[in-house]
Amino acid sequence: MIPDVTQQGPPPSQETIPAPTVPVVYFHGVSKSYGRIHALSNITLGLSGGVTGILGMNGAGKSTLFKLLMGKLRPSSGEVKLFGTNPWKNPSPYAKVGFVPEHEKMHDWMTALDFVSTFARLHGMTRKEAETEALRVLDFVGLADVANKEIGRFSKGMRQRTKIAHALVNDPELIILDEPLQGCDPLARTTIMNVIRELGKMGRTVLVSSHILNEIERITEQIVILHHGKLVALGNLHAIRERLDQIPHTIRLVGEDARALAKDILQHPAVFGLSFPNDTELLIQTYHFGQLHAELPGLIVNNGHKVSLIDNPDDDLESLLNYLAGGSA
């Protein structure tokens, strides 16, 4: 049932670490349910090297997937392996892992340096080593100048970056980031995205989750899509996108006279349907989204229409998910 689009599109640009004998992350037939609620069902997945985006709506099972990897949850069935070891039973693989939890609560009374170095010591570093490493990673995420400020006084973006620094302090081979961009201001967003891309370039395995397609697109092309606890796609985002172009798509126009606009647009061969939710709005159905989207501005200008908005309501995760789940966009 899972569309196999793995091998399509351009190959990932990141250099990958030499082929390991065991995958860094391995799920085999993993399900997790809470009573009657199935948070994850029958996930089989192996990942090694590069940045992978885990996409899914809220509640799709992204965090559950990560918590299974981090040994916080026990799978209801199936097998989870982290560097070939069962994380529920053995915490030793975490020496090579950095985890950024989605939880917002942090130890607000600590300074960023304290926070990062204290937890670094749990890797067996001495106090001095921990401090040196902490300063290094805080600098890496761009927080060197506020290292001695209390986390409680940080903005959302700074807190996220502190969490990332805490996860990177042991120079991990695998970095797991659960919604790292949520609630961040644009500047922090850019910094965090750069950090993640940088880690990918260094050959680390990075898993980053998000419910915003656009965010993931700016970080990586390699994605895993979860929907209602099921793995609906994995592979290259562009390949998935190309497929998406072949299916019915909607474009929304908002202008002064929707009916006049419709008359001209109906001439276009790519258009196969129109509808008017109200007097100023026009919804266009098309099979050739890319072509129409490119030609639409010319069409509007040449016919002298006044359009205030061209919107693509389908170009989001939801329509992608609907398509992948077998519906139409």
């Binding site: 918590k67 981090m70 040994g71 916080k72 949850l73 026990r74 915490p91 030793s92 693989p93 975490y94 020496a95 892992v97 950095g98 985890f99 939890p101 939880h103 917002e104 609560k105 942090m106 130890h107 009374w109 600590m110 204290t118 937890f119 010591r121 749990l122 890797h123 067996g124 570093m125 001495t126 080593e129 921990a130 490493e133 290094r136 890496f140 969490k163 805490h166 996860a167 120079d171 260094m202």
Partner: protein
Amino acid sequence: MSRRDGLPSLWSGMDRKAMAVAEFTVRQQRKRLSTWVVLLVGIAAMGVLTMFYIDAMTMDYEAIDNDMDSYDWDLDGYPNGQERLYGTDIFDKNSHPGLIDSSIVPDDPSLWINEDDFDWEALEAGSVGFDDNGDCDDESRTDSQKDQNGNGIPCDIMLVQNTYSKRYMVFADGNVDEDPDDEAYALEAIHRAFVLAIGKLGIVFLIGIFVPLFMATGLIRQEMTSGTMHFMLAKPIARGEVFLYRMFGFLAIAWTYLTVLIALLAIITGLAGPSDGFFRFSDLGVWMSVWLASLLAVMVYGMLFCMLGVMWKHGMVIAIPFAAWELGMILTTLGAPDASILRFSVVGWAMNIVDAGAALAWSDTPLLIQMGVWGGGNGPLEGAEALQFFASTPGLNLSALGTVVVSVLVMIFQAAACWLLGSALFKSKEIE
């Protein structure tokens, strides 16, 4: 980014983790208002109790003239005791020692109060006591009157120790040690009773249970609820280790607190208590045992409550009935220190340690209690009943040192069992 070479050995790694988590826990607790409130309330409570003690130590105890020989019934100016000593009639105004020898002047009546004090400190049962005021070994009395306890020795006290209960029985000849020094006895007995009371109930029980109740119950649970536990558990550290090292941090605070509190109490009572020198060094053994018992008690309670917190979000709901059970047990130790139900408590073992320490430091307490209860044949002296209430013999039927060793081992075992159980529960918990 440079990869670190030279991984630490298992032991140095554990050591570093232990230090990191313990230090983190201490700093975290220090930042909490509730920690300070709990610790300060503890100090305030002990302070109030100490006020009562200071008051008792500085109070005047009425010197009771048990044998009424300070009175002058015939109003001839000579107290009855002095008249009796010279064989004159205490009811006849015209019969007094001044008539026998005019150089004999009337005594100050206060000399005839508390004039026949206890003069036995020997712990061996046998013949003790001395008739200081000569009203037993009086020529006018017959031999049988002088030897009422029938041990063949006139004017003595026969002390018999019950081999089973270890209690002393006092069989006195009449008019021997019948007018003891009420104040000296009251001060000594009340002092000992207070040290035992505050040591057992105040420190080992109240502080020992409430400090862990408020500080250790949430040690793991709070972090699980708030989500901050994710940071710690994302590191290569076993959950059992987290449990143990968090406990180290808690104990660093609780043990320091207890040490300071007990040292303060030892200094205050050592200076304020009755003594020949400026300080009662003889109490230090008791304070040491209170210290040892309280350290072990907070360790066991801490492990237990932390485990209850891991087990259930509302672990305190189970911890409170348990504290009530422990209160019942400590009251049992006061009356029946050898009751076997005490084996199923924490405080019973802790009390064994205190009782053993007290038995070593104040070996004459059982005798002191019986002296006071007998009170010169006139009923209990002030302080005797308080001391009898708070002092008990160690309940294991072993030597004092043996009792301490066994109790310490049992409490360490209890703590270890709670830790293992807590770790197992923690390991099986899924953390959202």
